[in-house]
């Protein structure tokens, strides 16, 4: 087990390294207008050189990369160029991350708590009313374009329940709609996959044996099938962490939540490249951590995964 986790950790660190390097290099390969605006070409040679030198862009790319990693290891993500000129990015993020993190984590937990049991209940009563209702609900949510659905939620729910259209960190009632909006899609996909995996499992031989030994229908569902169906779910969860994050970028924008998602949209529009770089790095790290956790979770549930073959036992 330990060996398995160590292997996965190494894998995760390597992927993170590759992703960061790639982002860094790609941003450096952008035309210089990307850094200094449309006027760049018209400037004199000396001015350009001094502008480059000021930002350390005159050095060869591998030196820049080395310097970037060096400061990264000291916890320094560099300075913002345009968003808040020469202000340390870490300081900017310090205020933004807690909002995104709180909303993201609450949404994740909420979607798991609602989505997984919903799928399980639908599988248990396959073809019955509860299943049909759930399937119809999922179909509607999946079929509507996300942007339309989210706007609809914001406008109608805020007027029905008399909630504010915008987010206010001190008023917890205003947290409800964004969290619900972010969760809705993951709830539907969790429910759909859980239902599918459970139904797949119901037809397996071990379920027949369990029935033959006198285990009741509900007990089979919840003591035997549930865990087995959850194994492929665990693998699929990291991807959904990512989609929760991506969902939250749009939702933060929609509700003016002062988090990293709306920040990313702002800095891309401003072409503040060090900020873009820092944010993409954080999102990539979250994504990779999600996959890592998915692997570990699966290994915890499924004894076959971290199993080291012991020939003498067989």
């Amino acid at each position: 087990m330990l060996e398995y986790i160590l292997k996965r950790t190494a894998g995760a660190i390597i992927s993170l390294f590759v992703v960061i390097t790639l982002i860094f290099v790609l941003l450096r390969l952008m035309p210089m207008e990307g850094y200094f605006g449309a006027e760049y070409d018209k400037l004199s040679e000396e001015v350009r050189a001094s502008m480059l030198a000021e930002k350390g862009l005159d050095q060869p790319i591998y030196v820049q990369l080395f310097n970037f990693y060096k400061s990264l290891f000291q916890g320094d993500l560099g300075k913002s160029w345009i968003y808040r000129p020469n202000y340390p990015i870490v300081k900017i993020l310090e205020k933004k991350i807690p909002y995104s993190l709180k909303i993201g984590v609450i949404s994740m937990i909420f979607s798991l708590i609602v989505g997984i049991p919903l799928g399980a209940v639908m599988a248990r009563f396959k073809g019955k009313f509860a299943d049909k209702l759930g399937t119809a609900f999922i179909a509607i949510v999946e079929a509507l374009p996300t942007a339309v659905l989210m706007l609809f939620l914001q406008l109608f729910f805020s007027s029905w329940f008399n909630l504010s259209l915008l987010f206010d960190k001190n008023n917890y009632a205003t947290w409800v709609l964004p969290i619900f909006s972010i969760s809705l899609l993951s709830i539907c996909s969790y429910a759909m996959w859980m239902r599918r995996y459970m139904i797949d499992n119901i037809n397996m031989d071990y379920v027949k044996l369990a029935r033959a030994k006198g285990v009741s229908g509900s007990r089979i569902m919840f003591r035997h099938v549930f865990k087995n169906a959850f194994v492929p779910m665990a693998q699929f969860l990291p991807g959904s962490v990512l989609s929760t994050i991506i969902g939250s970028i749009y939702i933060e924008h929609l509700y003016s939540i002062p988090g990293t998602g709306s920040l990313l949209i702002d800095v891309i529009q401003l072409q503040d490249n060090t900020m873009v770089q820092a944010l993409v790095l954080i999102y990539a790290a979250i994504g990779i951590a999600g996959m890592f956790l998915g692997d570990v979770l699966m290994a915890l549930i499924d004894p076959r995964i971290s199993f080291v073959k012991k020939g003498d036992d067989r």
Binding site: M204, D205, Y206, K208, L209, A210, R211, A212, K213, G214, V215, S216, G217, R219, R223, H224, K227, N228, V231, I301, D302, P303, R304, F307, K310, D313, R314
Partner: protein, 356 residues
Amino acid sequence: MENYLQNKEVILSVKDLSVRFSLRGKSLHAIRGVSLDVYKGESLAIVGESGSGKSVLTKNFIGLLDKNGTIDKGEILFEGMDLAKFKTEREWAKIRGKKIAMVMQDPMTSLNPLKTIGWQISEALILNRGMNHAQAKAETLNILKDVGISEPERRYKQYPHEFSGGMRQRVVIAIAVACSPEILICDEPTTALDVTIQAQILSLIKDLCRKYGMTTIYITHDLGVVANVADRIAVMYAGDIVEVGTSEEVFFDPKHPYTWALMSSLPQLGEKGHELYSIKGTPPKLFGVIRGDAFAPRNPQALKIDYMVRPPYFEISPTHKARTWLLDPRAPKIDPPECLKRLKELENIESGDMDE
């Protein structure tokens, strides 16, 4: 063999059972009027090619018929109840595992991969014998020893993937005998296993049935293994039992042409340099009505009447009967194939694969 029936009481009685499946709008007649008595304490083998309905027949005994199947006629009498009339899971809960248990074909997929084998055996004990966890654990360790698993304390905590096929089948058997059922159905319990392990599993089942006083119904498509385990043999063809008798009767005095064909394809009867006999043709389609003797189209010596009227059972002895017109006094005399005589010379028929 008149004395076979002495002191024997019928534990399960199937009367004119008919089972149909609906499949894409069509109706498939899988069990076509089977009658069969099972005697307490005996070991009964049901043999026949695959697709002949062995599994479907016995699944009815524990109410595990596939959802698209229905019993449209007949009775299954057991302890004063008619199992064919059972509708609800609650009714079956009293039977399944407790009174009638089943060992299935594929031990590789029959166990829950995420639960320890100790948990899986204990579960049967807790649910069916009302034990608490500590009692169930102690009893599980006993049963593990009984089914020949060494170091039960250590094995208890292990998962199915840590066991080989043969060992897993022992675990499956342990689960089945955990509730000391009256009847143990073994549906091709060795088909998925290595030949060397097959013999071990067979003798294990035999020993356990004696020890726990269980009645065994042993399903196989391999006539070779039957000789070792069965007191009585029922031969199935196309959803019907065409011949039934004690092992000696069926082996040494078979009457039905299908039984002859089955036995002729035993590898033990093959001669060096000759190709092993195999039954020509394919079993009939079970959609629609079968006229006459279902085996007639594959039987080169079939009589005219075999194509027209379904033969009744003819009694050869109180324990031996067969459904073939050859036993009618008016029928021409047709002898069983020569090679079957050599069966008597072969004292010990060992396991071997029948041609399917």
